[in-house]
Symmetry: C2
């Protein structure tokens, strides 16, 4: 898996990742396709937002429809009709956040499915096998997501278990042209643990490095501190992925610190709950103030929702619980995120990130909260 690291503006990086299923221009945002679908979108709609790579979930897909079944049906790309690159997470985070009756051992994790209570096991070897069966372009090492809040002692124990699992994950990974495996730096908000974790992963050697266990409840300054302590320890020539982050502000901040890849359910989940990201902040389409507004969400946006529809219509769809509300708002939000990434790449290319950050932070944005 080739990663070209083209230019930098401050600490931000412009890159191009070459995978078996095509290129990804970084910094990149990966829409989340949990159960082999980006919710409320066809793959053509996702592609039209500018997305080049999707994320899918080992945990969800192993439970339903099963990784062996997807393999028999030709792999995840064919199954979900997405011919671009796919990154799969390893299941560690979802076992932690969704599964019931988890039991964590050296060998791996035994848990009950949140769907039907059935008993399953994930080990590093099994997590990698599943990701092979799915035919993920980017496989993630299996890890334990450290709880928050935590003590330094517990965080160290958890991180060291993840590091032993990372080694086993790498050993189980089958090298193929255009495919790669990323290790995940853990260590909660403790800089020494993050550094130990990064060094441990470097020793094993991965095709990319992810920062896990952030945005789980810690203060925003802690996220920034942790990134700043960790990133200098990671090799310049490999992609860096901040898992599960985040808001537009979080992404802009992390790009400026040197992150290349992101994923988050925020644009898709918000789209299904009547919320739209715009340059003036997040709009809540349920609010009565939109009921008669003939203006689009954003007059400067070229997405299908902004070209065809008024805020009044989107308000009506949202209040009426119509599926088209989820379709249009998700398309808009993903478009907004991809435009943001494209603007960031452009600013880095022109060595103009400082100006971008000034404009971005200077813009007046106000998130609209509950419905009237």
């Amino acid at each position: 898996m080739k990663f070209e690291h083209e230019t930098t503006s401050e600490r931000a990086r412009l890159g191009r990742l070459e995978t078996a299923h095509g290129e990804v221009h970084t910094p990149a945002f990966m829409p989340v396709g949990t159960a082999a679908t980006v919710k409320a979108m066809t793959p053509e709609m996702v592609r039209a937002t500018g997305a080049e790579i999707l994320l899918a979930n080992t945990y969800h897909l192993m439970l339903r429809p099963g990784a062996e079944r997807i393999a028999r049906l030709g792999g995840l790309h064919r199954f979900m009709n997405w011919d671009g690159p796919i990154l799969t997470d390893s299941g560690g985070f979802q076992v932690w956040s969704l599964a019931k009756l988890r039991e964590i051992r050296e060998e791996g994790v035994v848990f009950q499915s949140h769907l039907d209570g059935s008993r399953h096991e994930l080990t590093p070897e099994r997590a990698i096998e599943i990701q092979h069966q799915l035919d993920a372009d980017i496989t993630m090492a299996f890890d334990e997501c450290t709880a928050w809040p935590t003590t330094e002692e517990d965080a160290a124990k958890s991180m060291r278990l993840s590091m032993r699992w990372a080694q086993r994950s790498k050993a189980a990974f089958r090298e193929r042209e255009g495919y790669g495996i990323f290790g995940i730096v853990q260590g909660s908000v403790f800089p020494d643990l993050r550094i130990e974790s990064a060094e441990c992963l470097l020793e094993t050697g991965f095709d990319g490095y992810a920062i896990g266990g952030l945005s789980v409840g810690e203060a925003r300054e802690k996220t920034a501190e942790t990134l700043d302590a960790t990133l200098p320890r990671l090799p310049e020539g490999k992609p860096r992925y901040l898992m599960g982050v985040g808001t537009p502000e979080d992404i802009v901040d992390a790009v400026s610190r040197g992150i290349d890849l992101f994923d988050c359910v925020l644009p898709t989940r918000s789209g299904r709950t009547g919320q739209a990201f715009t340059r003036e902040g997040k709009l809540n389409l349920r609010n009565a103030r939109h009921a008669e507004d003939p203006a689009p969400l954003d007059a400067a946006c070229g997405c299908p929702a902004c070209i065809g529809y008024s805020r009044a219509y989107l308000h009506h769809l949202t209040k009426s619980g119509e599926i088209l509300s989820a379709i249009l708002l998700t398309a808009h939000n993903l478009h907004y995120y991809q435009e943001l990434m494209a603007s960031l790449r452009d600013a880095i290319r022109r060595n103009a990130l400082a100006a971008f950050l000034k404009a971005f932070h200077g813009a007046e944005r106000r998130d609209e909260l509950g419905a009237d």
Copy 2:
């Protein structure tokens, strides 16, 4: 509103209806866009199925978002981003099937909204005014849907009320180039009442004639008998619309008897509940037998669902409750219905309806019912 009546094959008719928002080739099926959206579809997707005209509902739109609001926002076409013709029903049927605490008087109907219990009134004059506000290309006269089962006496009373309302509807209708109003023949399954109703409407004079109050529970032979008694009384040169019908079999049968227009929620509602119309019958995608099937719904179908996806994937989406299941199956079902109409038009054009009917009825179709 011009209707050209080009050729016939047996009693079936090939026609072209010219409206203010474009042409409709008949026999035509109108997808139902109840609340100003064909559920789970963008207008582009609906257009891509071959649909030329949509139906929308006076009852739903008067309650939410309100007809005055839609008028202020430029009318229904602009509101819902559909630039083709729209037919609106008059609200009579929905008051009958959805509203609470109905009180029917000579003047009109007083009822409570099924959404919030608020009190509303619909009279012929108000129903027509709302349809003007919506800017419907085809306005439907306000009627009372006769209950089923019913006595001939009750059916006669109900029909005669609808006929007085039809006259008032016509009087309230504002003639405009490319716009028209259809009267609705009532009279339940009693041929004499249907004939009386048809003659009554003809005396007033409408741009088209609908058959209402069928497919409400009566036996299928009764539907056919009623059509055969009614249709000869309607003028050849005006379009004939069988309201709320139906299954592919119902439509083929009614076309062969001389019907030009149809609407039904079946393809869209079925699409949201995991059911797909195919030439081998209706499939239930929840059934486990589809779980590993790499074949598309229909190898000969050119819809987005059949081109991109396996039955196995559609099964997975349906079992997982994913919105994409509703999107793809609705697109497929509407495509199936539009292909059926195109085949019917083609058969009529070639004066080959008998052969079409033989092939259609000879094909082995088996509807798949409940899920495993």
